[in-house]
């Protein structure tokens, strides 16, 4: 990665020096060494503080919305960031010529808490290989399965490489199939148990709106979730269901599966299970790619004359 980081800095410096972009968005050092934070390099020298490692967790696409107001933006993009950018482009929230995308392939981001639990001490560095992750601690260097180290969102990733890069650093990794098996497990529950499962999840919801604020698909200028006629401010269970139903439905067919909502949720609500349910049914009923590729007509913005009637074939173990 360090070679790619050096090339990234070089490109960012050039873009800023030549005035192609006003700001370059990437990652910079965070308060804790294994938690880099989004960083905005506004001058060529700041480009040297850009870093790129296995701990860069936050999605960057959403920042573009605000940053392009002042001029063209450069940014580093993994597969998930790339899909987020495609979402914003398809929604006409930004224009392609306002962006300079430096693509990198990503094999997964290490969750420092999870890795620390696996390694038993603070993790200083990591290498993500094929099926294993090597964690480097002050005392040892050991390998663990991906599921013991990576962020949840990365375990189901289907797009390691962005499709819209202006320049790609390193090798492209071909896209795969999104694994939606975790949806099946919920579908198999009896309906009362399923209701209790979701009620328990939603009861924890603080309504902090982090899921919406980090989401590249939740880019509307004004949101029905802020309007009391659509969503009352009370936090009773009924309103929590309304909130989560509305959030998930409004990104149905538009969600790019970047997983940021779930990563951001402080209450550990498995928001991916909601988004992926729509994704699975869109795939099974209407043959929509999972996730739907932004740019084509949205799956809920069109129809086929011979669409199936999905309500006859719920096929769930109720």
């Amino acid at each position: 990665m360090s070679d790619i980081q050096a090339r990234l800095r070089e490109i960012a410096r050039r873009l800023l020096t030549e005035g192609h972009v006003r700001v370059f968005i990437g990652f910079g050092p965070g308060f804790e060494a294994n938690r880099p934070v989004p960083f905005f390099a506004a001058d060529p020298d700041a480009a040297d503080r850009l870093l790129l490692d296995e701990f860069c967790a936050a999605g960057l696409a959403r920042y573009v919305l605000e940053e392009v107001r002042e001029g063209p933006v450069g940014l580093v993009a993994r597969g998930c960031d790339g899909l987020g950018l495609e979402r914003l482009l398809a929604d006409h929230r930004v224009a392609r010529e306002q962006l300079y995308v430096v693509g990198v392939s990503c094999r997964g981001v290490v969750d420092p808490d999870r890795a620390c639990a696996a390694a038993g001490e603070e993790v200083r560095a990591a290498r993500v290989n094929g099926e294993t992750v090597t964690l480097i601690t002050p005392t040892a260097e050991r390998s663990f399965p991906r599921s013991a180290c990576l962020l949840d969102k990365c375990l189901r990733c289907q797009d390691p490489t962005p499709r819209i890069a202006d320049v790609l650093l390193g090798e492209a990794i071909p896209p795969g199939e999104r694994d939606l098996a975790h949806v099946d497990a919920v579908e198999r529950m009896p309906s009362d148990e399923r209701y209790r499962f979701w009620a328990r999840q939603f009861e924890r919801c603080l309504r902090c709106l982090a899921c919406r604020q980090v989401c590249p698909a939740c880019n509307c200028v004004s949101c029905s979730l802020d309007r009391p006629e659509w969503l009352e401010r009370g936090t009773g269970l009924a309103e929590q269901f309304m909130f989560h139903f509305t959030r998930a439905y409004h990104v149905a067919g538009r969600c790019v599966a970047c997983g940021e909502c779930e990563r951001a949720c402080p209450a550990g609500i498995p928001l991916g299970l909601l988004n992926d349910k729509f994704m699975k049914d869109l795939r099974d009923l209407f043959g929509v790619a999972a996730p739907h590729r932004p740019g084509d007509v949205e799956p809920l913005g069109k129809f086929c004359p011979d669409d199936p009637e999905g309500w006859h074939e719920g096929g769930e173990g109720t």
């Binding site: 399923r194 209701y195 009620a199 139903f245 729509f278 049914d281 069109k302 129809f303 009637e309 309500w311």
Partner: protein, 140 residues
């Protein structure tokens, strides 16, 4: 639950077909339980899925979304969007734990008074078996 309990069904009915079909059921003196309150909408495509959830929130035991048969939409294609949308929404509400019988989507034309009455009879039977809905419902 007392034996004379009757479910409350909120029916969103397209004015061009189902609403007229319900009228026909009435003028034909067809018998069906008085369990449904119809909300007339210009097209089944007007039914925002939030309406359905709101109805359950505020005390509906069942919800019917009904419009013109595919191909017969007064606005050409409104019900074709409905078909896609409610294919997903119905499955999603079941995924959240709602019993499948509580939400029905039906195509009922202005001539199908019989069909309307039959759907309400079936729904009422199903809901009587299930009892009052408590899921996603707000505290009274």
């Amino acid at each position: 639950m007392s034996s004379d309990w009757q479910p409350r069904i909120v029916g969103f009915a397209c004015r061009w077909c189902t609403y007229a079909g319900a009228d026909l059921a009435g003028t034909s003196r067809l018998e069906y339980p008085a369990t449904v309150r119809l909300v007339r909408v210009p097209c089944s495509g007007r039914v925002n899925p939030s309406f359905v959830l709101r109805a359950f929130q505020r005390g509906a035991d069942g919800v019917l979304v009904a419009g013109c048969h595919p191909g017969d939409c007064h606005y050409t294609s409104g019900n074709l969007f409905t078909r896609r949308r409610f294919s997903l929404v119905k499955r999603f509400l079941e995924y959240l734990g709602l019993e499948p019988e509580r939400l029905r989507v039906e195509w009922i034309s202005a001539a199908e008074g019989q069909r309307f009455a039959q759907v309400i009879r079936e729904m009422t039977d199903d809901l009587c078996r299930l009892g009052p809905n408590r899921k996603m419902r707000e505290e009274p």
